[in-house]
Symmetry: C4
Subunit: 318 residues, 4 copies
């Protein structure tokens, strides 16, 4: 083998392979990417701790679930300390009356853990004071962890790109084009937004049905600003792997269009990524996207209406 | 269509399109970028929650407004808990005298929420203690959120570039040049600063008035350091789209110069972005920028006076 | 010397030198990289403070050790303040009973440092109150530092790549290939993963045994996604520095394969790095990696079993 | 002017200009960069608030000064609240004895601001309770700000590169070379380290003494790893602007070598920058750097001694 073939090895297909591996390419008939950008594959067989992965979960879960976990941990930790105080006997705590019964130690624990310390209940004797010492440390560290987690959640890239529900195959400068539309769902600004579209479909290779990936060329693959919306356009010219394909054809090929977006969230200058995919049955043929613009009055600010992101207008005839 | 045209599709105009979309290009007669770098367009039609976008607002608003929101939330939350204690009846809280009347529960709430807990007022009975339990949790989480937000505000890129109030068309090496001047308004150092200048103007295309964008070549498009000031210069040579234009001409074209700056804030090694624009009526013809330097005494440190950033000297004759 | 040689100087070997320096290259017979990616060299002779480097240690150590340090500092600081209160005499603190003896000041310190302040023990007189003033400040700053450290630990890139225990020399498209396998040990997604493999071995140069580094060409050097596992493959073609080498040969050369991975952790859009190395005695000859996939049922999600990452199947004959 | 000259404009000198501007280039005779990497120029004429720039100062100042500012603000804020309580008259606070006199309100303020709340002193009446309400809010926000600042300080890139005190002009492969040596002063790992060396000197241009910058080609401009030390080498071949220069010559030219380093701190995957400069009088002629290595025993770990970074060995003859 000569030097030239060596170079070929290191660069061939680099842009086309998605890293799913050959088994996925060959054996899975499922869509690869879900609409929300998550992968349709699962890793199993982790050990217990890596699977738990509490931190990653607490960072990426919803705020509702996050606060539920935080509240539960608060109550459970105080219940544990309440049991500890109870084990010291009734004389370990002074004051607080008797009407609370068994819960007296729990509320004292709350007053200690949260560092309130009203003092109408207070610890007596060595053991109770030692428990207070450690409970106060736990309380402070719990607060430090909660604060750290809250901020870790805040500091995640906040960009959220909305994709049109369906893609279209629309007339375009005498030919047709594969198009989908995106908009920024948040108030932040995204700049230097770049799109990559891959066309996944099955071919017969040596008698085996194998998935093949083609990078589709775009009318424009990058925009400097993204203040409103962007319609990403792949012109179906003679060189396009979509050239001459019909709707039935794409169904037979189990076609899937994988979308990868990269941009910069200006609020924190963070690079952000978004993914989605359109399957053959999520494409509208012979249609075009409707305008999202509110007709600007003379010299007034131009506006778009985000609710019209998904509006598709069916075209007559062909 | 052949392979060559495919490549052409994917790269054509990539540097010139700004991502405003064709409607903006055609129908809006407004300036595109405001002087402060914000976009002169608006997205509408978000759902309620995305519009609210409290987090983004709290991060990007002024410190004054931020503290106003924090203070309000503190008072309102305590008022809510005060009502809760009041609903438990006067025996739910012990102590604190009667002279405060209805406000006794509010001040007790403050002492609990802020985890002070003097104890001269303290909770009695199950319900009051349960409310204390949740108020203490709310207090801690409120602190965690406030701390997280404060830090999120701190961790935003702090660079602020000052642009000269007006740009000039000045004599330059036998020809003329479009020039504007920038300086770093903060004490941090910005390095690897890069400038991009786009010339937006209207042309007639197929009988339609359409906006056109031209990237202007710069004498120098990047500086490694930016310790003082930088005058960005576009020489108006024969290849420049400004070649042969007069002041009246630029007015007729509704000319706007869009400025994009990218650099690295050294304090946190963050990439920072700045934008601004000059319209045809913000350009001084036949003028040049005055010196910002204080004449250095022998062997003394060189200094510039930031107040002179905007100083323009009108030139006589033409 | 002419212009051309100048260019040669500035670019030659840039991809092959690893920055270990000539002495390491020549004199050390140790492996360069440990399996966990740490370097097999040590810097000494720092001053006391740079060596201490408490911050870096607290950020990178295990959570267990981190909490041990935090707890120790909490107890030690309170012990110091307890001594300070004791030095003020028994009248400096009011209340708390006598049954705690010398520990009364310690528990009062805890109640102050953690800002609990039950109040059944309280400070009397100027000196005790001044100590309380500073202890409260210390307590708040200790909490600020602990919170800052907790978050600094949270905000570190969390990616962890698992490498197969051994590499293999496996049959590959009519020739053989050097292969190893990696998988993502965490639940986060890594994208844009890139691999670099360097072959380090000793050669005789001017009668001196010197280490030489060769960059190995890969079948694929980058994958866009990394949802499951990736087998990195260097085909041993005629141009490969491994061409014609036997197991004995690699031992004689003290061969070591240095692996460098770079990718993007999607959770925080952080660039992450991983390193490892395989020595000649960590390579299995005439073997291949076993499948990690659970056979997917019709239309079910595809899964891999992480425990099979290290499974190697020996091949018969040669 | 034709298209070609346009291109020339936008790229000419981009690598050589440092952004100091022409006045600095012409009129300042001072060194441009100090040894610690700070610029030898000053911006003045800011308004009051931008000059104050408290945040940037609190982030970049030493820990000692930072804690001094934090402590002062704590004491001053409490003094202000103490005055407020005093203005309410002696009945506003209940308890605490009379022996503290005027300081009673100060210590009560501390107990409130730090949320200790022993309760042996407590607020009476509407005004005192309202002040407590706002003081508790101030205390919590003060803690949030302190925590935010502490973490902002922690999250700054921590890399610190040590430069050899002097550079050398040393024999190198039959010619000579300009060399300096660097090492990582911290325990973190820096990877992908890149060096840029600029040679600044004065030339006569149109009868004016003007500074000129030349980028020096390096034997190696980038190293993948930086576990020990790195000697950066510019070979003085025929194409070098140093070719044929003597020590007297460099003095006459007021030569200064500006060093720019960029790398990645692996702890947080942050890009880090370092700058320094060597003036003509900080270069040792006909000398070479001494070894920093401790002779490795057989099979033991290789070590370097950081204290030997600056060791230069004078060469005889020449």
């Amino acid at each position: 083998m000569n030097r030239k073939s060596k170079v070929a090895f290191s660069t061939a297909d680099d842009n086309r392979d998605l890293g799913f591996g050959s088994v996925v390419a060959r054996e899975s008939r499922q869509r690869l990417l879900n609409r929300d950008g998550s992968f349709n594959v699962t890793r199993g067989g982790f050990g217990f701790w890596p699977s738990l992965n509490l931190y990653h979960t607490l960072i990426t879960t919803s705020w509702l679930k996050f606060f539920a976990v935080v509240t539960s941990s608060y109550l459970v930790l105080n219940a544990i300390f309440a049991v500890a105080y109870s084990l010291c006997g009734p004389e370990a705590l002074n004051g607080g009356g008797t009407e609370l019964g068994i819960l007296r130690t729990f509320f004292f624990s709350i007053q200690t853990f949260a560092t309130i310390g009203y003092g109408h209940i207070n610890p007596v004797g060595l053991v109770a004071n030692v428990i207070v010492t450690f409970e106060s440390l736990f309380g402070l560290l719990w607060l430090a962890l909660a604060t750290g987690l809250v901020f870790a959640r805040f500091s995640r890239p906040t960009a959220k790109i909305a994709f049109s529900e369906r893609a279209v195959i629309a007339p375009y400068r005498g030919i047709t084009a594969f198009e989908f539309r995106i908009a920024n769902e948040r108030k932040n600004q995204i700049i230097e937004l770049e799109a990559k579209v891959l066309f996944s479909h099955f071919i017969e290779e040596k008698g085996m049905r194998t998935r093949r990936f083609d990078l589709l060329s775009l009318e424009r693959s990058k925009v400097s600003f993204f203040p409103l919306n962007w319609t990403v356009v792949h012109p179906i010219d003679g060189a396009s792997p979509l050239s001459g394909r019909s709707e039935d054809n794409l169904r037979a090929l189990e076609a899937e269009f994988l979308i990868l977006l990269t941009g910069i969230d200006e609020t924190f200058s963070q690079t952000v990524h978004a993914r989605s995919s359109y399957r053959w049955d999520e494409i509208e043929w012979n249609a075009k996207f409707g305008s999202m613009y509110n007709q600007p009055l003379n010299n007034s600010e131009l506006t778009i209406d985000m609710r019209r992101l998904h509006v598709i207008e069916k075209l007559r005839g062909k």
